[in-house]
């Protein structure tokens, strides 16, 4: 097991409009990319974010060695229970996630 912060060189999270957050995981080389691609599956993401899988989109961008995770906000941007207007702190949640 290793944490995603060890397997990536950058994880970036940002709102994509008021209703979505998108997280980009940049990998240094093919070996790390393959490990993140195989380990960071839809069920693993959904468990980490505590949201149903059908609210998550996952993309593999091989030429950039990037895995992209986009998900619908549980609380829309700026609504009463929103805690992070720009959605950037989800990156740190994923950084500590352990995968095989």
């Amino acid at each position: 097991m290793a944490s995603l912060s060890e397997l990536t060189h950058k994880i970036r999270s940002k709102n994509a409009g008021p209703f979505w957050v998108t997280i980009d995981l940049f990998c240094e080389d093919d070996a790390h990319y393959k490990r993140v691609r195989d380990g960071l599956t839809l069920p693993v993401i959904a468990r980490c974010l505590l949201i149903p899988e059908n609210l998550v989109k996952r993309f593999e961008i091989d030429n950039l060695k990037v895995i992209k995770v986009s998900f619908q906000r549980k609380h829309f941007q700026g609504s009463r229970l929103d805690r992070d207007m720009h959605g950037a702190q989800f990156a740190f949640l994923l950084e500590q996630l352990q995968i095989d």
């Binding site: 030429n63 609504s79 009463r80 805690r83």
Partner: protein, 453 residues
């Protein structure tokens, strides 16, 4: 062969700042136009709700002054979209007044185009009844109640209203809400450049130098032709590489390959990014797909109450260690007191406690067990009126300061950072639409007004 179109983008948004040296470098490339964005929904619903700007007008005016001078010296048009952060009509008028003021100061005669993008609620309701409004995923529910509380609706203009102003020979084009990309794509598309390349170049350049190794340097230059586009950062210490350019396609985009725009979508699945040298990247292979119907995206904010906040800092180790128990007790006692003593208070109010230093940001998702030596307790009260929110906050105030964890211990005193501990925040807004509206013609509902000053 059609001439290429050269676009200079000074920064991601007016008010954010850019390097003047880099702007001068960009102007040496003889751009055909200067395009800059004026806002977005990025900072939340308040700005659209109130119809006000996020950035300091003084800072915006200083930057706009530089761009007006550059426009005049180089005899090229200057276009800005999403005027005044949120793109309401008042934002366009604010930019119009500013443009006239600067033109007079500089002694320039200028043809100014204004494109308004705000939609009346009645127009929205007619479109709704004609089945021309469709929700995107996920969309807030449209109810009679939410409709009645909406303060502003804007629709994002595509390239067509902007092209109309260009064809009319406008020197300065002030657009209400527009897609970030439409501002940049309008001219190359008018010049018959490659459609996919025009939209893709616009997406890459819309945040200025974010697509380079030095995002804060601001100025970016794109040249679009019949087969693709070339992008270069204008600051000496900023480089565009295939990685930085391709990565920007991912930025703030839920889908890395598809970008929905008025009148169609951009698909970059087959795009190639090639380094021409250490500074420039060539991009080809992106495709534009026109749609059968022409739709524009709507944004709206509704008044959802009034807020008052309180903040205190807990330093006593026993209280830090038992912060959840303390908050639970605080919440219970305050809610009981509100029920007992504030009989006029409606049940729609909410009190949200956030413990800064524990889980204020991630909430139930927080994984860290470690606690800071001191914890901030932020209390957010939302109610139907400012008076009610203030009253509730004033009721909470003494408990936030002095509530003991158990009955048999001395009364504690937490640290208020300022007096009063409660701050009235005013109106509270929430986004109310994530919908698209079908138009018969791309310029419907985007009135164009041209003045010469």
């Amino acid at each position: 062969m059609t001439k290429s179109t050269k676009i200079l983008v000074p920064s991601g948004v007016l008010g954010l700042g850019f390097s003047e040296d880099a702007l001068i470098q960009g102007l040496k490339r003889q751009p055909d136009i200067i395009s800059i964005d004026g806002g977005s929904t990025d900072s939340g619903p308040f700005y659209l709700g109130m119809g006000v700007s996020k950035y300091s007008l003084e800072v915006c005016e200083a930057e706009w002054h530089l761009l007006m001078q550059a426009r005049h010296d180089n005899k090229i048009p200057l276009v800005i979209g999403s005027c005044g952060t949120c793109g309401v009509n008042a934002g366009v008028d604010m930019m119009f007044d500013m443009t006239v003021r600067i033109a007079k100061k500089l002694g320039h005669s200028v043809k100014i185009a204004r494109i308004y993008c705000e939609r009346e609620r009645s127009e929205f309701q007619i479109a709704l009844s004609e089945n021309r409004i469709k929700p995107l995923e996920p969309a807030p529910q449209i109810t009679q109640d939410s409709l009645s509380k909406i303060t502003h609706i804007v629709s994002s203009a595509g390239v067509e209203p902007i092209q109309k102003a260009m064809e009319a020979g406008a020197d300065v084009i002030l657009v209400g809400r527009a897609t970030d990309t439409a501002l940049i794509a309008a001219l190359p598309l008018l010049n018959n450049a490659h459609k996919g390349a025009s939209w893709h170049a616009a997406k890459i350049a819309e945040c200025g130098a974010f697509c380079s190794t030095n995002p804060s340097s601001g100025v970016i230059f794109v040249e679009v032709d019949e087969t693709g586009f070339t992008v270069e950062a204008m600051a000496q210490n900023a480089l565009c590489t295939p990685e930085t350019v391709a990565a920007h396609m991912l930025y703030e985009n839920a889908d890395p390959f598809i970008l929905l725009e008025p009148g169609g979508h951009l698909d970059v699945t087959d795009a190639t990014y090639t380094a021409l040298d250490a500074r420039r990247v060539r991009v080809e292979g992106s495709h534009w797909h026109s749609s059968d119907t022409y739709t524009v995206k709507l944004e709206a904010a509704k008044l959802s109450g009034y807020q008052t906040t309180l903040l205190t800092i807990v330093r006593e180790p026993n209280y830090v260690a038992h912060i959840d128990d303390w908050i639970e007790k605080l919440s219970r006692i305050c809610n009981t007191k509100i029920k007992q003593s504030m009989t006029n208070s409606k049940s729609t109010h909410s009190i949200d406690f956030r413990v800064i230093g524990k889980n204020a940001v991630l909430g139930e998702l927080e994984f860290s067990e470690s606690l800071a030596p001191e914890l901030g307790v932020l209390v957010i009260v939302t109610a139907d009126s400012q008076g009610e929110a203030d009253d509730i906050a004033m009721l909470i105030n003494p408990y936030l300061l002095h509530l003991p964890l158990s009955e048999d211990e001395p009364i504690p005193t937490t640290a208020f950072a300022y007096s009063p501990a409660n701050s009235s925040r005013g109106a509270f807004f929430e986004f109310a639409l994530n919908h698209i509206m079908k138009l018969d013609k791309p310029c419907d509902g985007f009135p164009l007004i041209i003045d010469e000053v």
